[in-house]
């Protein structure tokens, strides 16, 4: 962090004083400009705010601690970010067609979003049929995963699974790999939704086991992947949910680090070596429209993580110190009004993430405030990334805003703000305790309300919503893609037939082993989830068993 220089040390710069007087004379006092995290923003930054004296300590070079300028020496000039578009719709065959299309357009990795019924731990024959496949692919067992990834070399393609506890999608992927003769050591990717704490605090999308069980399954999952799937990132610590729910950028990063510390503490308590599990920790953030704030926050985040991993865990491997993150442009900033304006918003958000040094990026489709994204919208989102990279040449220079008086000063201020919120959680006994007590949820709710009040009062402009409104032609809006009901009926019928054709003995045996593991702390629950997937158990059977044995996690009502 940078402190303003001692005025006695600096020769007073008459020209700066003159500017200040002139500015004050014309504008008067306007000290109330603040960014979303509450940091006061000055009209001009000069060497009085940041002068490079602490360059070596605070900024340094890419690939060297504290990594302010990037976690790799070559950053985007060497290897640009992974273009990872979240997709999922309809049946496995629908998903596969869309995936192959996106790969042909330039997507370089797989991402899979299952249907909300899957998120919530149910099979397709247990739920309202109207909701199946409307937001993600309906995938309930290993053969569905095999069909989703037909034509994709799973040993050579990074796969991000939007896969909450108990990680059945990864289990189905591992079972698919085994069937195809691909060794697990070749499987790479990320369990994108492994962060049960963020689900508990902010995004109640996901199957929930009561907190103690969720805590244990995550540690089992990290342990299993470290041993058997070494290229897999089992821990994605998620700030995105909390920011979408209303946390400010600084709060979202603070609560995310607090979560990472909680999970790392839990791994250490199990006797795991920090230099084994920390290199496989990744982060996932939202990128709001607050351009400089987001850039500064990501730079500050790298600095904080590099310090925490060394000071708190004594990590010695530089891979443990690197703050690797995926980011998604913020859907909350998008508007239903004049939806094409969202293309501009997503572009600015994506630029903030890129200049902030991300490793992987999802750009939202412009029509997400209208419906689940259309294929047309998703294509523009991918093109936006291609334009920023190859037409605008954003990747030519590493950390191009480094050394800017404003960005460096703001990076320090955001760091201080993040550390302040982290202390609140620490004082409450850590993230597990703070979330159990509802403290984090309350903070997030208050920040959401504050932002909404600013929009309602007009203090925060939202083009097309509270300013610059126009009469719109509804017919120009894209129509919502919906799964074909006939195909979905066939999918359900095939699922029922598949279940009936299995050997009931093998399925029962695998479920019993899973139930025993849930009650035996020395066993590994995730290892039994994988075994159950291989034995042909369905997602709903696996989740149902764990729900019975470990208890269901309800949502607290906090308004």
């Amino acid at each position: 962090m940078n402190k303003p220089l001692d005025p006695a040390m600096v020769r007073p710069d008459a020209r700066e004083d003159r500017w200040q007087a002139e500015y004050a004379g014309q504008i008067g006092s306007d000290n109330n400009v603040r960014n979303r995290s509450g940091v006061a923003i000055k009209p001009l930054y000069t060497p009085r705010d940041w002068n490079g004296d602490r360059h070596a300590d605070d900024v340094g070079f890419p690939g060297q601690p504290p990594y302010t300028r990037g976690i790799y020496a070559t950053m985007h000039r060497g290897r640009t970010w992974t273009q990872r578009q979240l997709i999922g719709l309809g049946t496995p065959a629908d998903y596969n067609a869309r995936l192959l299309d996106l790969i042909a357009q330039g997507a370089t990795a797989v991402s899979l979003i299952p249907c909300n019924s899957v998120y919530r731990g149910y099979d397709m024959d247990e739920v309202h049929a109207e909701l199946l496949g409307t937001c993600g692919v309906v995938l309930n067992h290993v053969e569905h995963m095999d069909a989703c990834l037909a034509g994709v070399d799973v040993g050579a393609t990074s796969c991000a699974m939007n896969d909450p506890s108990p990680f059945t999608l990864l289990a189905f992927l591992l079972a698919t790999a085994k069937r195809r003769g691909v060794p697990w050591s070749a499987i790479s990717g990320t369990s994108n939704q492994s962060d049960y704490i963020s689900h508990y605090a902010a995004n109640h999308m996901f199957f929930r086991i009561a907190l103690p069980g969720a805590r244990r399954i995550l540690a089992d999952h990290i342990d299993f992947c470290n041993r058997h799937v070494p290229k897999w990132n089992p821990m994605s610590v998620v700030g995105q949910h909390m920011q979408q729910a209303g946390a400010t950028p600084a709060e979202a990063m603070a609560f995310t680090f607090a979560t990472a510390l909680q999970n790392a503490d839990d791994c250490v308590a199990r006797g795991m070596d920090p230099d084994q599990f920390l290199p496989r920790f990744t982060f996932f953030f939202d990128i709001s429209l607050s351009f400089f704030e987001e850039i500064a926050r990501f730079r500050a985040g790298r600095r904080i993580w590099a310090r925490l991993t060394r000071e708190r865990y004594g990590a010695k491997d530089p891979r443990s110190w690197r703050f690797k993150f995926h980011a998604q442009t913020s859907g909350v900033d998008l508007t239903r009004q004049q939806p094409q304006n969202n293309i501009a918003r997503v572009t600015v958000q994506a630029m903030a993430g890129i200049l902030g040094g991300l490793q992987s990026l999802h750009t939202d489709a412009y029509d997400e405030a209208l419906s689940c994204p259309t294929e047309y919208g998703a294509r523009i989102a991918v093109a936006t990334q291609n334009i920023l990279r190859e037409e605008a040449h954003l990747t030519d220079v590493i950390d191009p805003l480094g050394g800017s008086y404003y960005v460096e000063a703001l990076t320090g201020e955001m760091e201080a703000e993040i550390l302040r919120s982290m202390r609140v959680v620490e004082d409450a006994g850590g993230m597990y305790a703070a979330v159990s007590a509802g403290l984090v949820q309350k903070r997030i709710g208050e920040s959401a309300r504050r932002f909404q009040d600013a929009v309602e009062s007009g203090a925060q402009t939202v083009v097309g919503v509270n300013a610059y409104r126009v009469d719109e032609d509804r017919s120009a809006r894209p129509s919502q893609p919906k799964p074909d009901p006939r195909k979905m009926r066939d999918h359900i019928a095939a699922f029922r037939a598949h279940k009936a054709a299995r050997s009931p003995g093998a399925v029962r045996k695998a479920q019993d082993a899973l139930a025993r593991a849930a009650n035996d702390p020395k066993d590994n629950v995730f290892a039994q989830v994988v075994a159950a997937a291989e034995a042909g158990c369905t997602h709903g059977e696996i989740c149902g068993t764990l729900r019975r044995e470990m208890g269901f996690g309800h949502v607290q009502a906090i308004v």
Binding site: H204, M205, A245, V555
Partner: protein, 143 residues
């Protein structure tokens, strides 16, 4: 005499994005209404039971991820339980073609992203007196 509307704010189906439902619930409460708030994931029979026992004027359903597609089922369940005189409003991400289907199923109003919170409060205040009068003429409290 000022009527204080009683509103149930809830979510049915799978989705758990509750920023909207929490903000709306807090706003209506602060605007002087009696608000019953539930966390996400409520089953339709539970919503009907709550609406009956709490004698609410309005049910607000928040839907961000297609859960509005089962709102017609809720409307049928309310009618079957004799609660046709409870107004149902839906807020969230609802495509135009689905909005028409919801209105046809008896939903009183659909609120979209970017709408002002005050519009929701005004709408509820405007419809509540007639809803109460209808509940009395329907003889709902006689049985």
């Amino acid at each position: 005499m000022d009527i204080r509307p009683k509103v149930l704010v809830t979510k049915i189906g799978f989705d758990g994005h509750d920023r909207g439902s929490r903000i709306v619930a807090a706003y209506l409460r602060d605007a002087g209404m009696e608000v019953i708030y539930t966390p996400p994931w409520q089953e339709i029979p539970v919503v009907v039971k709550l609406a009956t026992e709490e004698d609410v004027d309005v049910i607000g359903i928040s839907s961000l991820a297609t859960d509005h597609l089962i709102v017609p089922k809720l409307m049928a369940a309310l009618r079957a339980a004799g609660l046709a005189d409870v107004a149902v409003i839906v807020g969230g991400i609802v495509p135009d073609e689905d909005e028409e289907a919801l209105l046809a199923a008896g939903v009183a109003k659909v609120f979209h992203p970017g709408g002002a919170l005050e519009d929701i409060a005004t709408f509820i205040r405007d419809i509540t007196p007639a809803l109460r009068a209808k509940r009395i003429t329907d003889g709902r409290y006689l049985a």
